[in-house]
Symmetry: C2
Subunit: 475 residues, 2 copies
């Protein structure tokens, strides 16, 4: 039954604007009754449960239910909840008998496709946005705005609000071992913004080449290329990225705590080797610490920056721990770079002051820690379910990189990656193969694998997504 | 008395972070008593009044008062309010007798200077930030966040949230006569961001030169120069900017509704001439509508864009109507440009989703209109007070550009601009002369004048700022 509601939940995910949300929900429920997907007599989830499921306000659901009761599609009775009316206005028709459950995902997929979003999504790179702590965030916003002096709303320091830089310095030092002085922090509108600024500054300093990992995001390489820099891939082996090829590069972009997408931490010998080589060649290390908050089975891997703050530019983000929509990231920079990166922002702050003040309050009040702890538990449960389901239903597949982060690498039999991704797509499951993350210039053996972002789906779609994944895997 | 509190208010403006605000306020009040600036027996403003004056939460003031009562610096008695204790812990000393009022602004100035902000500020470019509608904004944020689907917190459309673009299209069409299709709107992190993006796109299209006004902001010209474009000034006369010199330019940057800083609208013949010439030469008009909301004595001047949406890029901002700290502006672009400008943002939205959703809700709920109406009344009263005070106390000065906006031009006797600005600075009043807004390449007669931003001070500092201005003017 839970799964059925999950399906219902997804089917109702329209692209609603504020006032259109209630109408969209009403239309979708009405259509579900009319088409027979919701059989007469079916009990609907409580407005509270469906609202939580959909990540919307309870009132919106209650209002939609009330509209449909008024229209005769639903009935509401004390003690019996809200049910589909037995004599609903328009009798169901179409392809199916009323009361039968459609094949999992069928209607959903069609519907979602029409709106450009997949029914299920296990692509990496996004946390579960339905669990964004809306109420806590609003409370922090209220406190932050009450405490802020009026000039906090003026044009700001291009490095970002001092309240946020101070809060980040404390947090990063405590949680990630970063040596963070607020003067050396620059708040940016996301990791991509920070990388673009750093690329511009490095190029202006005369840099020509940035070494990158054999596996990574093409958009990051493109940002560097757009800044006028060439990228060159470093070798990758069982210990992680090998800095042997670093000579000749002016900088190196790494994900040391949790290689993206391979999921392994940089081996401790390699950590030392990277810094040694960078010191010898004068290269700057760009440390992408995108999901450093999420560790499950092992000791946290501290930031590389803590070992050499004048050689490493540390880059963190709220996109994985909270939501990409906040557009908030931070760079902790060697002293001489901080001013140049701030100047490259155009001399004024580019991030909204209110969100910055709110995040500062969120950090200093402990709400951030509480949120990360809760999210860590939730993601860990999902990861355990994923590992168990794959072991049971697709024993040929092998999962690696499970100790941290919001994604795993699911290794497949040779030659099967593309067909598995296709099979998943046909089931309404958006999925990424490893191929798209392989730097085309890298000399690494092709490896068939999926990069499974188990953090992505909202709770109500998680089980369905996992089922669709297992069904697509070779048995 | 009112002025004395105003002085107190300014003196208390520290740079507090959230939890530090109460302590900062307590320290400042204690110091004011210790130094004798607050004489024994002096009645303090109510916590409500001081909180409003300082733009902070009432509880913060009440808590600070309570701390100081507990410490014996203040006394609180039902019916008699909060007063400075007669036997305060440390007896006042320093240079002044206890109980005397310091020369207006003296202590304030020193204090503020040490913290890098002037006691009084009549520089143009910022609205009264203390009147930012905090409570209404938070209410809108709560409604917006309750209504938003969870995927509104994901990486977004580089043009900005659809809710905000739809709301802006409605508002700009109604209030500014802009022909605005949401598909052609790109939300940006402030006007400077929008201008920088447009500069980049124009340069990539092969543009070389942008015509600018004889008077304007150097930072805007610099943004264009940074994008690789040359700027060339257009003549300026009694009808405003003369587009005669437009040939040869690929684009022209104008403030047609309210020339900045001269304060006049572009004459209607010139409006037509600009568009005629732009059509003939293929130039793009960049319309900077920075304060289009604020009209007092005349019919609103509609946006030029309404006359030729395929020839004009309209640029608006929340920086004057709400606050620069929001970092929200919007470009309404010719169809072919919208995609290119969005791509120049790096393919992802650069503005926080929550602020965008909140502004959308603020616009559609009518809160924006209410706020602008109230602000317009307040600024109009200030403008009337300014005109009256200058007429009474500095009859030699002549004020122009009073019909709209948040600043006026105050014409001075020839040769006196620099000395007046200096005299004002010595009184703790930050003030800008016209000279800094004159394009060095422009062939215009030097004109001695002040650009007085009467919108800038918070209410509690307005009277003091006006007094300081009048005192600095030649009598």
């Amino acid at each position: 039954m839970a799964e059925r509601w999950a399906t219902l939940g997804i089917d109702l995910h329209l692209e609603p604007t504020g006032p259109g949300l209630r109408r969209g929900l009403t239309d979708a429920l009405r259509e579900a009754v009319r088409s027979g997907r919701l059989a007469p007599g079916t009990r609907l989830p409580s407005s509270r449960a469906l609202a939580a499921d959909l990540g919307i306000a309870r009132n919106t659901v209650a209002d939609a239910y009330a509209d449909l009761v008024a229209e005769g599609w639903l009935t509401a009775r004390q003690g019996s909840g809200t049910r589909v009316a037995t004599g609903a206005p328009a009798t169901p028709a179409r392809q199916r008998e009323p009361g039968t459950v459609p094949p999992a995902g069928t209607a959903v997929r069609t519907h979602a496709r029409a709106r450009g979003r997949p029914a299920y999504d296990l692509r990496p790179g996004t946390p579960d946005l339905a669990s964004f702590p809306r109420a806590e965030w609003l409370r922090a916003a209220r406190r932050a705005l009450a405490a802020a002096p009026y000039h906090a709303l003026d044009y700001g320091d291009p490095r970002g609000r001092p309240e946020l830089r101070a809060a980040l310095a404390g947090y990063l030092s405590r949680a990630r071992g970063v040596r963070a002085d607020p003067e050396r922090i620059v708040v940016c509108a996301g990791f991509a913004h920070a990388l673009r600024l750093l690329g511009t500054v490095l190029r202006a300093r005369g840099a020509r080449t940035v070494a990158v990992e054999s596996y990574g995001l093409d958009v990051h390489r493109d940002l560097l290329t757009d800044a006028g820099l060439a990228t060159t891939p470093l070798p990758f082996d069982a210990l992680g990225t090998d800095p042997a090829g670093l000579s000749g590069a002016d900088a190196v972009l790494l994900t040391p705590a949790h290689q993206f997408p391979m999921g392994v931490p940089l081996h401790r010998d390699r950590r030392t080797a990277v810094l040694d080589r960078a010191r010898r060649t004068g290269a700057l290390v760009l440390e992408d610490d995108y999901d450093g908050e999420f560790r499950y089975d092992r000791q946290p891997v501290g930031a590389l920056q803590g070992l050499d703050p004048d050689r490493v530019a540390y880059l963190g983000t709220a996109s994985k721990s909270l939501a990409p929509g906040l557009r908030l990231a931070w760079a902790v920079l060697p002293r001489d770079l901080a001013g140049e990166v701030a100047a490259a922002k155009g001399g004024i702050d580019t991030c909204g002051a209110l969100d910055q003040l709110t995040l500062a309050e969120f950090l200093t009040s402990g709400a951030y820690d509480r949120h990360v702890r809760a999210a860590r538990l939730r993601y860990r449960r999902r990861r355990d379910a994923l590992v168990a389901a794959v072991a049971a239903r697709a024993p040929q597949a092998r999962i690696t990189g499970i100790a941290a982060g919001l994604h795993v690498l699911l290794r497949l039999p040779p030659g099967s990656e593309q067909s598995v991704v296709q099979a998943a797509n046909w089931r309404g499951l958006a999925l990424h193969g490893l191929a798209r993350y392989r730097n085309p210039a890298a000399r690494v053996e092709p490896l068939d694998a999926l990069v499974v972002g188990y953090g992505t789906p909202p709770d109500h779609a998680w089980t369905g997504a996992l089922d669709a994944l297992c069904a697509a895997l070779p048995g």
